[in-house]
Symmetry: C2
């Protein structure tokens, strides 16, 4: 079986762990990671979602924190702070730093991000084919109000520095309109047996991936069923601080609200099927009215077994949708 | 009093500590540091001599090792090795790395090295005015034989990776012929009351500084006396692996041999005075025959007090020379 996954960082990685636990070793999993969270810090190109997937699937992640390297130290960051440089609000560990140094060195020599990602993965050897969504620079910027001043800031500044606790007036996936899909991305979707969408943030993780025309077209035209899982349980995000972001964009903070945001493939959206949490079973009918097959199943990714069952539920729903 | 010092790394830093201990707080010490040891590693610009001087004079150095930061960790370097990148033979600590990241970021934004050095020194506040010899890229390359292949390698590769234990056929101070002195360098030498040359490597520390035409001219034409201290005691270098380098260039490995290499100002060289170690007192006459005033004094920089006395001896010799 060939599975294509559109993924953000932490939630995506855990869901992918579930997929890997659910499928056979001979099944091929291609992960198309969001790169719109990427940011240049102190001249170094940082790709949080690519790295979270790579570290998580290869045993390098700090499992408690969910991001960055295990056995990490923070001495370079301490020193950067003492030099008084900007952007030290970003958590850049000493081990993690090496990844960004190698990546930046390769990018500056002219290698596209997909090639760099492949080179980094030679060391980590994650049990998936990991691709950036694009080799072009695409960055999510948030329009907010800071000090009574309405302005645009990088998503990471909004998310990490301001902990998403400032107004969201608009979101701009800068560069997405002209970006090309990275090599292998369109093929992976076109030739997949199933396309899965983890419970990642719809606006800043999944949104940017399908904001790239070639990828959106591929998702809309693939013969594979496309099934996602809600990142919202009840009225709040499973992880992180998505509520403010969704509220700010007038997206209903509910499983059905996110399904509506993504839309049905039959109506130029990206979904055939949608998993909602068992506690949101009452929303199944709402989702199905959108033309999206829905199932209520446990969506809390509390441990690997829960992630595995969730992936099995997504694959089962895909099979139903695919047959219909 | 205005003192200009032409300096390499470790030996220079210790000698400067001696100068600072010997002079009044109102005396101005300008350090013109060798930058031909500089190297770009993993896309980061590393300036070993500038940093050694900056760290040493500001309490940031690892005193036992003599280079790099105290309380250092090596996690980024470990990771770089695991990524299999080249050049991991260079000792790049996590704290130290931050200095190179900040420097590279500023250089890439177009700031000249002198401005970057000044910015880094804002944090460290060394009690001297620290200047790079030049804002241009000047790098020492060594012609050697590796695997039966005669070729040029960067000085750091020769020194650190190969521990100077490979043949030296020639030394090229690349870029020196066209390099300009950094802002402030020529003035500091021209308006100095005394110019001091620490017991630094003549070929790869002091040599590159005076290989820059404007600096050599300034040293040769300043009204200040120019006095140095021998980095050789007996028949070996006080520190490091200078012997192989000097041997390879057919420079006599002795206090008088180095004095001859630098030459007397009266004969288009750079020295008026030269300190040799008390154990080399027999060479005083040889040095003086070169037209260079010489004194035999203790040159082992065993502790700060020894460094202070050595600086006092250099200043005393300068006074004698200046009056003559």
């Amino acid at each position: 079986m060939r599975i294509a996954v559109l993924s953000g960082g932490i939630g995506g990685s855990r869901f992918i762990q579930g997929i890997l636990a659910a499928v056979e070793p001979t099944d091929q999993v291609t992960v198309i990671a969001n790169t719109a969270d990427d940011i240049t810090l102190f001249g170094l190109r940082v790709c949080p979602d690519l790295d979270t997937v790579m570290y998580t699937l290869s045993g390098g992640i700090d499992t408690a924190r969910g991001w960055g390297r295990q056995d990490e130290t923070w001495h370079a960051k301490e020193e950067l702070e003492r030099y008084g440089v900007d952007q030290t609000w970003f958590g850049l560990g000493d081990r993690d730093l090496a990844t960004h140094v190698v990546r930046t060195m390769m990018l500056n020599r002219g290698a596209p991000l997909s090639e760099v990602t492949s080179a980094l993965c030679e060391r980590w050897a994650p049990p998936v084919h990991l691709l950036p969504m694009t080799d072009d620079v695409v960055e999510t910027h948030i329009q907010t109000t800071l000090d009574d001043d309405k302005r645009w800031i990088h998503f990471q500044e909004f998310w990490i520095k301001h902990k998403a606790a400032i107004p969201v007036h608009a979101v701009d996936i800068r560069g997405a309109a002209t970006a090309r899909a990275a090599p292998g991305v369109v093929d992976a979707i076109a030739h997949a047996d199933v396309v899965l969408i983890p419970p990642s943030n719809p606006v800043v993780s999944i949104g940017p991936i399908v904001a790239i025309g070639e990828i959106r077209d591929a998702v809309q035209s693939t013969s594979a069923p496309v099934v996602g899982a809600s990142p919202i349980i009840g009225d709040s995000a499973v992880r992180g601080m998505a509520n403010q972001l969704l509220d700010g964009l007038s997206i209903r903070v509910s499983a059905a609200g996110v399904a509506e945001f993504h839309g049905s493939r039959s109506a130029k959206g990206i979904l055939d099927g949608w998993l909602v949490d068992e506690s949101d079973a009452s929303q199944v009918a709402d989702v199905e009215r959108l033309g999206i097959a829905a199932r209520a199943v446990p969506l809390w990714m509390t441990d690997l077994d829960a992630c595995r069952r969730m992936a099995q539920d997504a694959l089962a729903l895909a099979e139903t949708v695919g047959r219909s």
